[in-house]
Structure formats: C-alpha cells, structure tokens
Symmetry: C2
Subunit: 284 residues, 2 copies
Amino acid sequence: MSNQSACDQETSPPRIGYLGPPGSYSHLAAVLHFGDSADCIEHGNIEPVFVSVEEGLCEYGLAPYENSTGGSITDTLDAFHDHNVRACAEVLVEINHCLLSNAPTDRIVRVASRPQVLGQCNRWLADHFPDAERVEMASSSLAVQSIADAEDSAAIGSVLAGTLYGVDVLHERIQDKSDNVTRFLVISREDSPPVGRDKTTMSFITSHEPGALVDVLAVFRDAGINLSHIDKRPSRRENWQYKFYIDTESHRQNPSMQAAIEKARSHCIDFNVLGSYPRAVQVL
Amino acid sequence: MSNQSACDQETSPPRIGYLGPPGSYSHLAAVLHFGDSADCIEHGNIEPVFVSVEEGLCEYGLAPYENSTGGSITDTLDAFHDHNVRACAEVLVEINHCLLSNAPTDRIVRVASRPQVLGQCNRWLADHFPDAERVEMASSSLAVQSIADAEDSAAIGSVLAGTLYGVDVLHERIQDKSDNVTRFLVISREDSPPVGRDKTTMSFITSHEPGALVDVLAVFRDAGINLSHIDKRPSRRENWQYKFYIDTESHRQNPSMQAAIEKARSHCIDFNVLGSYPRAVQVL
C-alpha cells in the first residue's frame, strides 16, 4: 500500500497463499489460522500455492489434505511430490454450508451454488425450497457474489463469503451430512519445533513395493508410534510403483522417531520427511 | 434381433455393462476380454454398471480400478462399497491414444478430443501440428465421431473408436508418456474358481484404525501371501474412519489364505472378500 510506513513494513503480516476464489474454504482456513489481518493471496490452483511458498513469494500456504467424507485431495499429494516445501501446521475446518441472501425468505425462487454443494444440500432444499430453481455456478463464492443484489435469489456458500460480499446468512449447516471436516496442512519453507503433541508427515517409495509397505509401517508400530494417516499416489517413476504418504504422532526430533525414520528409510528407495508440526486440537 | 432363432437365444452371448460412450477404454476392455461378439451395453456412469450386474440385467460389468499413472478410480471403490457384486477377472489395457482422421495429414488444421487427452498428447501435437487449433470435447469417442466426415480435422481417440465410426488411424501411441495401463476388474454375481495364479480383492474397516492397519497387513505377510495393491476411501460411517481395499496374490479357497482371512477379520469391524480371480498375464 502506498501510505504504508517503514515501521508497518517491518511488522507487516506474513503473506498466505490459498486456493481461491475469495470466500473459499481454503481462504477460511487461512483466516481462522492466521487471523483477520493476514495478507491472504488468492491462487487459481493448488500447485501455484506450492510454487509461491517454494519461491518465497508467500511465507505460508494452505494445502487441503483430506476431507472426512470425500477422502484425499490428490492435487496436494502430487504437489508435495514436485515441490520442496515443509508442512508446519495442520488446520481442521468444519464445512458449514449456509443459505445466504439479502432477499426475504418467502421471496426466494432461485438458489445458486456449485453443483456439488447443491447436491450436498439436496434434502434440506427439498424440505425448505421445494419449488426453487437451482442454478449451477463454477464456485459457491461466485454464486454468493452474484446474488448480493438480487431480490428473489439465494446462494449456498460459507459465512466468510457472506461477509466478503455483504450477503446475510439466513441458515447455517444446511448440508445433509452434518459432520464434514476438511484437514488443511499449512506449508512453509521450514517445519515447526516440537510442542509435545506433534505429528510428522512423511512420503516414501518402498524398494519392493507394495510388499515392503508392511515392513515400513511395522517399524513405527514396533516403536510405539501411532500411524494417523496413510495414502498413496503413483510414483511417476515406474508403472504400478507407488509413493506412500503417512502421518505419525511424534516429532521428527524425538529420539525414538529419529531411530524409526532411519530404520524405515532402509526399506525404501526414496524417503522424505515432509515436516513436523503441532497436532490440531479443535475443529475451527 | 427380430430374426434371432430360439437356438441363437440359448447360446446368446452374455451382456456386458461398460462405461460409455462406445469406443471408450471400458468398451475396449470389454471387447478385448469377451471378444467381438459380446453384447456390450453402454452405461452413463460407473455406478449404474454395478447396479445392472447386481440386478442381473448384465451378467458382467467392466469396472476401471486403477491407472498406472493416474491412480485409483474412486467411483469404482465407492461402488464396491454400495453394491453386492464380485470381482471375477482382471483386464490390463494399454492406453493407446491415436490420431484419427479421414483427411490428408497436410490438410489438418484442427484436432479434437477430451481436454485431458489433448493434455496427455501435448508434446506430440506441438511437434507435429504446432499450428492446429485444439477443440475440447466431452469425450474422445464423441470427438472421433464428430470429425468422421471433416476434410480438415482430426481427433485423438482409441483404435476402437476409429473402427466404430469409420475413421482412419493416422498415428498410434502419440501420448507423451508412453507407458500407461489401466487395470479393470470384471464384476459379476459370482467370483472365479482357482487356476493356480490367482488374486483376491478384499475390503475392510479396522477396529482402531488406522493403527490396526499394520496388524491386518502383517497377517498376510506372515502367511507368505504377497500384497499387490492397497487403497482406501472414507468409510462413510464415521469421520476419519477408512475402508481399505487390498489385493493379495492367492485364491480365497487356498487353506493358508482362508486362515489369513479369518485372522485378519479378527482385527476388523467389517471385512469383505470381494472376489478371487485369475491374475492377468499380459497387457492387452
């Protein structure tokens, strides 16, 4: 900003890359984790968020990692494969689909959102707006923006989208499956020091996969280290060779974890510690 | 057909459900596995193929299970969760993107296909048709059909699409990554008897997941049974609870496999044998 003083610049908030558009759940995760004053920078896709962090254009980035009902976000796993960044925090965000409108409820004849979001609120819409036309848009944030001035339309989106575009929240949590949480990893160029309740995310390719997978996982079990997540993606080196992604409940600096990592590494042709970070204790 | 005799009806080929449109790789897998005379029935999505097999409208169905470079096909995993069918065979099909046209090569100014397929052939197109316009269509088969009579256009699709729509194959294997195989499972209401080189596909939810995952996998390792595939999807029972899908190289009727299945089952709150079938020995 042109009127920013030198003092302001020194204490300027970190730049946070997120997957847009503004009002998306990635944006919401950034605001919940870093606060309202964070300098959140929109990106058109997940991979450019990794590039911005890797190249230092952003200090942090939000990477959607898995959803409690939809599963893994493969674009994030592939971006970890291709870019040299570290996981330094995790953020759990409740998916809270809201009906937003500046029109009176009894005049709403049209409800807009992403097709997937409309589908996730199917039952609620059938109960409350059985005759309303459903308008499919590319994102829920765009839908909220588009109906801000409408006198007979609503949109389904986040509370944050309502705040950003000045649209009232008429109903919260209208999705048919109430319990829906997305887990984000915060990425940076460094991971975090231990706090006592930590996680470590790692990726590896086993030497004689997938048979040797058990050997790697057993190393952590035998060291008493709990495995809290596992996923895999094609390694992109050879057909049917996989890169596994695991989270364990320990910090990479713990002696037992260090020993387990070295032992696990001996079963692998490739092994990377993607970062240690404090375990999230609540859903935001 | 109206002129079909009673005798023909008795020996009529089985009905095979596949994910359309005609000329798709699912269609190709059906033709390669069941032969040209198979009665292949198009479906608009993967789940309806499972429904047709479950309800007996089709004797068999083709389910794309994993791709060597793209990973798992989650719609198939979810359909196994929701429908009572068995895996009875596996089919490995090489993805062979071809340039098809009835126009002379030097008159081609336009190349149509699915956006993903155009992307997979990016380098080849840049080398051979740097100035050609790229036209994005909903499926490669539709693209092939659309250019059958064009005098200046080509499409990228399968050999089968060329045969179906009467379009010449000008170049084969034009994808930038040459080695790309999709593994299909053939589904039916019964699985297959042992042939000596068998696989078994299973799904399970562990009791204290994902920590107990290692215990389940170790059962098969300790019995000397190789694990050839693992994947997971949200269980859709509880948040962060997963249903794992594994393939092992043994038939469910083998005594060592029977014992391992019972032992693995004791670590799980849900355990299903989805079927045993002969291992595919070649890529078609």
